[in-house]
Subunit: 331 residues, 2 copies
């Protein structure tokens, strides 16, 4: 069944070797309050502490590292709500590859600043009006850039899969892993890598309730398309449909997919701050938010916090909106 | 000169062996914005991600691990503004030692809740009215508890020194390390351990401007006593005088001590959030705040973020008070 998939475990191990000494080995954290509230042992893999602030660095670097010298010299272009942009920018800086990133006009300023810090050229598009893939393709045509998608690429998925290899080295006894699903690249890479190491492990995708395109696709068995851009605070997961290559993997390898509300996401961001002492952006916190909703056999569960790009002002506004602010927030 | 000091490097290596597989190996993070603003390479050792939320776990566990079986059964007592309390509580839970902690009435609620989570008995005292050492000694007398000070103990300092051993494994080329100074145990442990590994490394202590008891002591050459409890947001560093044993070390081994204002501390907390994606409490952020004030030879500098116990509400209030909120906070 997995023979014809666009990603195999060997690709993830190749990526892991390319990333050795380059990507950070991110911590796998736990806290008794998380264990208590989930009723099981919980280990959180904090990719917010990855270089450039998210797991995306792994895929972007892997994709650039395999380019031939001519393509490296010409440069690359990638479209992104922000984290892939920062990741590409840093990977390009490290490998000497010129990077152009295509970002939505309403992307968080911190994410765009991040990409600029690492020397990328920024091109913006309008999320509702423009087709970002067309904008990207036009730039690629004009300048001879290689396109590096944020999810729809075997090399990018392979890089993302190294999160799971690392996590299962740190905590081999996990029986399930929860991952955020946007385009689906992290889920696909995680499923391929984790099930290679432990075929019995369950991989559970998590989407915002308002942007459940992969959940809907899994239910119907065909690639669903939402009628409009999802309205959710998880700005990195506002996809209208799954990316095709990850979807080929996720449709056969994901064990389940659950959805979470924005309120649950905000609560998870607060949990990350208070108990883990880490900053999780909304998209990064969806898997942690899903802990509340788990219906699983007992066993240790891994949770990926995929990114930490949220400004202090936004964080403040999210927390202020949170109903039933916990007692422990007050001091 | 160092022959008669209350701590030698061998004690720190002993502590490192006891802590192996028990304490977290905390990340050493960097970010281009930090390098740019400091004009040098900066590596931040994030002890906020240590178990129980601060470096204090290392010393508390080491101190409990060396107790004989009878003392372990009787239990221990320690006084703390909060982090040492949480650390003792967790160490006691792991080693099966009953723990009582003596905390000031105005300690952050999150810190006290943390100690309670790990099963410690809490006794409060009034910071201005009571003598915490008397309260602690009375409990020790009554119940036969061993006293575990937050800094004034060779075993506690040895545990704290393992931060530096770990950091210099992760980043061997540091030429200076900045550490927060309260009682002085972390600074003393750091100085002994780091100078053993690299005799040319400079160890610089950092205190809040309002609570510069160690700075004043270094200047006069004798243990200074502030007339009242310092008024600073760095609640873990509100000492009126250095602890005697760390002072014996720090007076001969600290290369310098600098002070920072509360505003600089808040700015450092914002930097930790935005660029490192980690939560630093005020006391934990003083060394990062001192980066602004460095007057050093060029070279890579290590900075210890010593703890992350700050509630979301307090964090917001600090940020709201911050003058010249940065542009990048706005989204």
């Amino acid at each position: 069944m997995t023979g014809r998939l666009p990603l195999i475990a060997a690709d993830v191990f190749d990526a892991q070797r390319r990333l050795q000494g380059i990507a950070a080995i991110t911590p796998a954290l736990s806290h008794p309050e998380l264990d208590d509230s989930a009723g099981r042992s919980v280990v959180v893999k904090v990719e917010a502490l990855q270089r450039a602030g998210s797991f995306k660095f792994r895929g972007a670097y892997n994709a650039l590292a395999v380019l031939d010298p001519v393509a490296r010299r010409r440069g690359v272009v990638g479209a992104s709500s922000g984290n892939h942009a920062q990741a590409l920018a840093l990977a390009g800086q490290l490998l000497g590859v010129p990077v152009t990133v295509v970002v939505p006009h309403d992307a968080p300023k911190g994410k765009i600043d991040g990409a600029r810090t690492y020397g990328a050229r920024i091109v913006t598009y309008h999320r509702e009006r423009d087709d970002r893939d067309q904008v990207t393709a036009a730039l690629a045509d004009e300048h001879g850039y290689a396109v590096v998608p944020s999810a729809n690429s075997p090399h990018v998925m392979a890089g993302a899969g190294t999160v799971a290899l690392e996590l299962l080295c740190q905590v081999p006894h996990l029986t399930a892993v929860l991952v955020p699903v946007g385009g689906g690249g992290l889920a696909a890479g995680t499923a391929v890598a984790a099930k290679h190491v432990n075929p019995r492990i369950r991989i559970i995708g998590v989407e915002p309730e308002a942007g459940a395109d992969t959940a809907m696709s899994l239910r119907t068995g065909t690639l669903a398309e939402l009628p409009s851009v999802p309205d959710t605070i998880a700005d990195g997961l506002r996809h209208t449909s799954p990316a095709p290559l990850p979807w080929e993997i996720n449709r056969v390898m994901l064990d389940d997919i659950v959805t979470v509300t924005d309120t649950q996401v905000i609560r998870a961001m607060a949990t990350a701050f208070q108990h883990l002492k880490v900053v999780a952006e909304p998209s990064g916190a969806v898997a942690l938010a899903a802990l509340e909703r788990l219906d699983l056999d007992p066993g240790a569960v891994g949770v990926v916090i995929s990114g930490g790009s949220v400004g202090i002002g936004s964080f403040h506004r999210f927390m202020t909106d949170l109903p039933n602010q916990k007692e422990s927030d007050r001091v």
